[in-house]
């Protein structure tokens, strides 16, 4: 079986998945405006009261930049902002750069790279933002590495902002886990199918299938509860808080503890063996 890079897999997922991040579509625009509103309100939070005059903002897993550009726009009303957009997908970064130029009038820095190695690519930032419900991409092991890495990339008083929904509640308690989940857009029907559960990683493997073209891509999802991720953030940061947004939440963490560095996190051997007991 040919091995795809993380970037290739993500490109295929996003080409199939109807994720509204095209900034010139009505839906994309609406999400951008909504993000600006959420961040305007967030500026009053005590965690954001001590931001320096020149804010270094990193939008992690930026996609086409909706979150990062919206936050930069909001902060720029009061302070100067230098925005860095980071993603694995070169195509998304290209759109994000153009959008940032349009909205902010200045060129952002873009970094193509893996969020699990953030600290190797970007340092000394004031705010790391993860906007657009990207948490399900991370299993708990990766989440631990992610938080250690973000902690290294931030300044001592740095802030991490993560947009999330309570997937544990929504998926398991409210709706019930679905083996088959169809979605419709224009002339396309997309089936989101259960493929297996990986005990060692805690992920549900789903297959996205286009009914029209038959194209298929696998997608690993971890259904994070708010408490589970926020408690992990607390182990890596001295202060945490939870703010309710519009149907989503913002998880906030400030002042990285830096007690556990990414280099001290060597994955257990049972995760390196390949067979994860997927069912």
């Amino acid at each position: 079986m040919e091995h795809e890079s993380k970037e290739e897999v993500l490109e295929r997922i996003y080409s199939l998945h109807p994720w509204p991040d095209d900034l010139h579509s009505t839906e994309g625009r609406r999400r951008y405006e909504e993000a600006r509103e959420i961040f305007s309100q967030l500026l009053d939070h005590p965690f954001l009261s001590e931001l320096p005059d020149n804010v270094r903002l990193l939008d992690l897993l930026s996609g086409r930049g909706i979150g990062g550009v919206a936050m930069a726009k909001v902060i720029s009303a009061k302070k100067s902002v230098s925005l860095t957009l980071m993603d694995l997908r070169a195509n998304a970064l290209k759109s994000a750069r153009e959008f940032a130029l349009e909205e902010l009038g200045s060129e952002p820095e873009t970094v193509k790279g893996d969020a699990l190695a953030t600290h190797e690519l970007v340092r000394d930032v004031d705010v790391v933002l993860m906007y657009g419900l990207s948490l399900p991409h991370f299993d708990p092991w990766e989440a631990v590495i992610l938080l250690a890495s973000v902690g290294e990339a931030l300044k001592d008083t740095g802030l991490l902002v993560v947009e999330a929904v309570d997937m544990r509640y929504n998926v398991f308690y409210l709706r019930g886990y679905k083996e088959v989940l169809p979605s419709f857009r224009e002339d396309e029907v997309l089936l989101d199918l259960h493929k297996g559960y990986d005990i060692k990683r805690g992920i549900f493997r789903r297959a996205l299938v286009s009914v029209r073209t038959g194209e298929t891509v696998d997608l690993d999802v971890y259904f994070w509860g708010l408490a589970e991720f926020l408690a992990l953030m607390w182990l890596f940061f001295e202060e945490v808080d939870l703010v309710r947004g519009k149907g989503t939440y913002l998880l906030l963490a400030r002042k990285p503890r830096r007690k556990i560095g990414p280099s001290e996190l060597k994955l257990p051997s049972f995760l390196r063996e390949g067979d994860h007991g997927a069912r």
Partner: protein, 286 residues
């Protein structure tokens, strides 16, 4: 002690086999068998083992592990800690019968383990106990446990993947009834708290009307293991059931960098869990 009373009531209503004649005995025998295969694990090396069975109840897990270690020629000192003195007195009798020596027993709260116990080599949490602890409390517990373990110490957690069994395979079972010694007990899911991830359950005897409420956090195997990884340098997952959904999680070499005081400081400074509940502004009443 209010918590101890609650736990006594809870365990009197729960379908958990603690009688060492029937089902409890079978649970003990299967634990001994499993531990016989585990004693050669590199995380459990060393001829002298000071073993702490934390929240040990009647001591089934600790006594089983002690027996397997002794059969392998190791010297074992067993301590069983639990909130319930009734359970601990059973543990003392049982340890004399099984090991020929009486286990040391301590009545106390697992969070205060540092004040109650001297240094140990192995801490065991047996019998799927972690659902009593949400991710916040589990973290505080791991931090407390780390402080009593030696540098080469190991935490063993016996766990079942609840995300798999309870949320994926059998999600419909949120109300059920069971029979216990002539009693009929009804267990109901009452609410979900997003700040903690806890499900509140109410169990109620249909015969006596007696009730108990308790909280459950439904831990996946990976979620639990990765949280242990924050506190321990090395992690292993040893399957107990063939499919691996029941397993022993091993955390070896405590990092010792997240002290309980440092973690609790977050709560003291902010009292943020209260804020979080208010910020959420809702509680699911299903």
């Amino acid at each position: 002690m209010a918590l101890a009373d609650d736990m006594n009531k809870l365990y009197s209503l729960m379908p958990w086999p603690e009688d060492l004649g029937g089902a409890g005995r079978r649970r003990y025998e299967s634990a001994v068998n499993f531990f016989r295969g585990l004693v050669d694990h590199p995380f459990l090396a060393g001829g002298e083992v000071r073993l702490l069975d934390l929240m040990g109840g009647v001591g089934i897990g600790g006594i089983a592990l002690a027996r397997a270690l002794r059969e392998a020629g190791r010297h074992v000192e067993l301590t069983v800690l639990d909130l319930r003195e009734d359970a601990l007195s059973v543990a003392r009798d049982f340890s004399v019968r099984e090991l020929g020596i009486e286990a040391r027993t301590i009545v106390g709260d697992a969070f205060r383990v540092r004040e109650l116990v001297d240094e140990v080599d192995v801490v065991l949490i047996h019998g799927v106990t972690m659902p009593h602890f949400d991710p916040w409390r589990s973290s505080l517990l791991f931090s407390a446990i780390s402080s009593v373990l030696t540098q080469n110490g190991t935490l063993l957690i016996h766990h079942i993947d609840q995300v798999y069994w309870e949320l994926y395979i059998h999600p419909q079972i949120d109300t059920y009834a069971y029979f216990k010694r002539g009693d009929v007990v009804l267990s109901l899911k009452a609410s979900y708290d997003p700040a903690t991830g806890y499900i509140e359950r109410i169990i109620c005897s249909l015969i006596t009307g007696e009730q108990a409420r308790y909280h459950v956090y439904q831990w996946g195997m990976a979620g639990m293991a990765a949280l242990m990884w924050v506190f321990f340098e090395e992690i292993d997952m040893v399957p107990i059931s063939e499919d691996g959904t029941v397993a022993m999680l091993l955390g070896h070499r405590p990092r010792g960098v997240l002290e309980p005081d440092d973690l609790e400081a977050t709560f003291r400074r902010e009292e943020f869990l209260t804020d979080i509940r208010e910020a959420l502004g809702w509680k699911d009443e299903s």
